[in-house]
């Protein structure tokens, strides 16, 4: 089948047409409607370094999620022990020691062990010692469960960040996990990078805690923090001067409710000063809980704590049964919107840190596209002229192959939705220089064979055959390097590996198949006896 020129020509033309079809959206914006319905519609996908945008690598501090789960469970266990009237003492975490339980006698310890075994399958005893006749025990979460918690923390962080980014309104964001605990976030075209980072990175843990009016704030500030309370800071913005300050406040540590209880959060403009605030709506259970909490604590102050910082601490005037609350403060419209977004998307189960950030502005991106295109055109013209001067007709044939090469390369990239980056453009230009290599090999061989006195037909046959293996070998090694490049590189470098690889395959095809078609056509159909080479 492959000997017939007609079939080879047909296949080649088909491939070129396919490439054109895939490239059409990139080249023009006016496409007929029938096109839009049946044929590919995507422009060539540009990397961040060409379209502008932000690339982040985040690390989820999954260990913290394990810590907080342990704390919560211990809190639960403590209440349970108290209900069952087991005597114990719970020592808080210090710098050197974890939280530990102390039991005055063996019966208490036995009761504890029984409770642990029956109701807390995930916990196990980490250390246990006898000090002055009293048993001391520290706990930890079982290894398998720890691994589970970490995995879930990463998955949930992924989901949450995805939700937040969705609401932020970026077209075509990419949020992908990497390794065990990392997340890659790519936001093409993002303008306000600081805001985006803040939106993605904040933990956004909303807690409702009671203000501790019973103890002295000053005492606590001096270091005497009463049991079950913590010192937090309330941010306060002076209305006239706009200056922000932080004032200490004493809170009861226990979180009465968290952001989990929210059903939705919305930005609303207040009537009095026209200031934006965030209005919260609790879900069914949350509404009930809120009802109970406000009912139990009328006239006390309820602090709204966001990521450990107290936002406001209004007095509970009366029982609130509608399941609604408001977070007020001096928000700008942007701040209120962002807060509503993170509350809706949910809190991150563990904090995330930014390990790597790369942001390219759109002007630089456009510059790079311009320079890259220019360089490609100039390089292309240079090669075209050179081939004709050096190899004359055979050179012109090689040029046709080169042009087809470029068309197919770009077509394949569009078809496979490969990403084009600036090094990728360099890769395309490099392919131009390397593609003619195969043609040079073949032409030089043909010249040699002609010099040996063979007929044109035989010389061409021999040239292609002998050159093929060499072409194959040398391309394989470049492919090996490109493979490693792809595996090792990030964004822009990957783009280089991609264009290099596609370029090599396409150039092998055009050099061997396409030019051969043309030579064969001339010899068999046109009966040419001599060619200028």
């Amino acid at each position: 089948m492959f000997n017939s020129i007609k079939i080879r020509v047909a296949v080649t033309i088909l491939l070129c047409l396919a490439a054109l079809v895939y490239l059409a959206p990139t080249l023009t914006s006016d496409l007929p409607d029938t096109w839009k319905n049946y044929l590919p519609m995507d422009k060539i996908h540009l990397g961040l370094d060409l379209q502008g945008g932000m690339h982040l690598v985040l690390e989820v501090q999954a260990a913290k999620a394990v810590e907080s789960t342990l704390e919560r469970t211990i809190g639960d266990l403590k209440e349970n022990l108290m209900d069952k009237r087991v005597r114990f003492k719970l020592r808080d975490r210090t710098k050197d020691k974890d939280m530990s339980f102390e039991f005055p006698d063996t019966s208490a310890r036995d009761a504890f062990d029984k409770l642990l075994k029956n109701e807390y399958p995930d916990l196990e005893i980490a250390t246990s010692e006898m000090v002055e006749g009293k048993g001391t025990v520290t706990l930890k979460i079982k290894d398998r469960r720890t691994a589970e918690i970490k995995k879930m923390a990463v998955e949930q962080s992924l989901e949450t960040i995805r939700n937040r980014v969705d609401q932020f309104g970026i077209s075509e964001p990419e949020i992908i996990p990497q390794g065990v605990d990392r997340i890659i976030v790519q936001l093409p075209g993002v303008k306000d990078t600081a805001r985006a980072k803040s939106l993605i990175g904040r933990t956004a843990l909303l807690e409702f805690k009671l203000v501790d009016d019973e103890h002295s704030l000053d005492d606590a500030l001096k270091g005497n923090i009463p049991e079950g309370s913590i010192v937090a800071y309330e941010s306060h913005t002076d209305r006239t001067s706009g200056r922000r300050s932080q004032n200490p406040i004493l809170l009861k540590n226990k979180s009465l409710m968290t952001g989990d209880a929210l059903e939705s959060a919305k930005v609303q403009i207040g009537d009095r000063f026209g200031e934006p605030h965030v209005s919260l709506k609790f879900n069914a259970q949350g509404a009930k809980d809120f009802d109970r909490i406000t009912g139990d604590n009328v006239k006390k102050r309820l602090a709204i704590v966001l990521d450990g910082l107290v936002h406001s601490a209004p007095v509970i005037q009366e029982r609130i049964s509608g399941g609604q609350a408001q977070i007020t403060g001096s928000f700008t419209m942007e701040e209120a919107t962002d807060l509503a977004i993170v509350l809706r998307a949910g809190a991150l189960p563990a904090p995330v840190t930014i390990l790597e950030e790369r942001t390219v502005g759109p002007s630089l991106g456009q510059d790079s596209i311009d320079k890259g295109t220019w360089a490609s055109i100039i390089a292309g013209i240079l090669i075209l002229i050179f081939m004709i001067i050096y190899y004359r007709l055979a050179g012109a044939i090689a040029d046709v192959a080169l042009a087809m090469n470029m068309l197919l390369l770009l077509g394949v990239m569009a078809a496979f939705k490969a990403t084009l980056t600036l090094p990728g453009i360099a890769g395309i230009v490099l392919t131009m220089g390397m593609a003619v290599d195969a043609n040079v090999l073949i032409n030089e061989r043909i010249r040699e064979e002609l010099r040996l006195g063979k007929t044109l037909r035989a010389a061409i046959e021999a040239g292609y055959t002998k050159a093929f293996l060499t072409i194959f070998d040398s391309n394989v090694t470049t492919l090996v390097a490109a493979l490693f490049l792809f595996g090792f590189g990030t964004g822009p470098v990957k783009g280089f590996a991609v264009t290099l690889t596609i370029g090599i395959f396409v150039s092998m095809f055009t050099a061997i198949v396409v030019t051969r078609i043309i030579f064969d056509y001339m010899i068999w159909n046109r009966k040419v006896q001599q060619i200028s080479i």
Binding site: A194, T359, A375, R392, L430, G433, T470, T477, G489
Partner: protein, 303 residues
């Protein structure tokens, strides 16, 4: 048109000794340069840190920029020209504080130049963890590609040829690093990409020559290996120089017109390609000869 006539008879093998000495001299210069510069000039991709590319409306004064950054706490920033009215500021800070970096940069520059006087074109921040990861990955990629190619050439030809090829490749990478160090170019991800490309590409001409050597060796059993090598190199000289010429042309265009972002990348490729040609002609085949002398392959032939 033919630049290289077909009947060249250069005795390349005789030039082997001086060629190797020249290469070693250049590499020694490289080592000296590395010592002088206290190691390679690692970019933020490997060393960690932050990089900010800023374009100003009018030619900026480096001291003014440095002062502006110092005022917001970026100590010791290195400032480099990057094109007309454009600079790159590099600091060792890799602030984990999310709002920190961009906001501080804006603050610093607005204070010194006014909001309309500058435009931040690009920001890159690499934390120490990622920096270490990338360094490790880069080294592994280079080493494994050497090994991969060693295996491939060893399988396609013989082990001796593979060694010759690898020596040529290592030579190319060392020469490229020498030039990069001497010209004080930054080592970043792009440079490693260039090195890997050079590794993959430079072995090509070496393979072409090995191919020819093998063909000639089969045809002329009685010819001594030294003569076979010389003949083969001469025969393929035209092709070797030509392909390198086309790649070179293309790279020069990229170097001049490609813009500042890939400038160093293109520079590395240019040096590597030139080194590649040199090593193919003067180093790879003579190594094969050397190993033949040390450990003859068992084929009946005169030395």
């Amino acid at each position: 048109m033919e630049i290289i006539k077909t009947d060249t008879h250069f005795n390349f093998v005789r030039l082997m000794k001086p060629a190797v000495i020249l290469s070693l001299a250049v590499i020694l210069i490289g080592v000296a340069s590395l010592i002088w510069h206290k190691g390679p000039n690692f970019g933020i991709d490997f060393a960690g840190g932050s990089l900010i590319q800023v374009k100003f409306t009018s030619a900026p004064d480096a001291d003014k920029i440095r002062g502006a950054f110092k005022a917001v706490g970026f100590e010791g920033s290195i400032i480099q020209q990057f094109g007309p009215n454009e600079v790159i500021v590099r600091t060792a800070e890799a602030g984990a504080d999310p709002k920190g970096l961009t906001a501080r940069v804006d603050e610093a520059l607005t204070a010194a130049f006014g909001k309309a006087g500058y435009e931040v074109r690009r920001i890159e921040m690499v934390g120490p963890k990622v920096g270490r990861d990338l360094t490790k990955k880069a080294l592994l990629a280079i080493i494994f590609s050497w090994i991969g190619i060693l295996i491939y050439v060893g399988v396609r030809f013989e082990f001796r040829y593979a060694l010759g090829g690898i020596v040529a490749l290592i030579h190319d990478v060392l020469i490229t690093i020498t030039f990069l160090s001497v010209f004080d170019k930054e080592f970043d991800l792009n440079i490693v990409a260039a090195l890997l490309t050079i590794i993959g590409y430079s072995i090509n001409d070496t393979i072409v020559i090995f191919d020819r050597i093998r063909e000639n060796a089969r045809k002329n059993i009685k010819m001594p290996l030294m003569d076979i090598i010389n003949t083969s190199v001469n025969q393929t000289l035209s092709r070797t120089l030509l392909t390198s010429l086309t790649v070179f042309m293309v790279l020069i265009v990229l170097f001049i017109f490609g813009g500042a972002v890939i400038h160093d990348f293109t520079f590395a490729l240019l040096v590597g390609t030139a080194a590649g040609v040199y090593s193919t002609v003067f180093i790879a085949s003579p190594i094969v000869l050397l190993f033949e002398k040390i450990k003859p392959s068992g084929l009946k032939r005169k030395k």
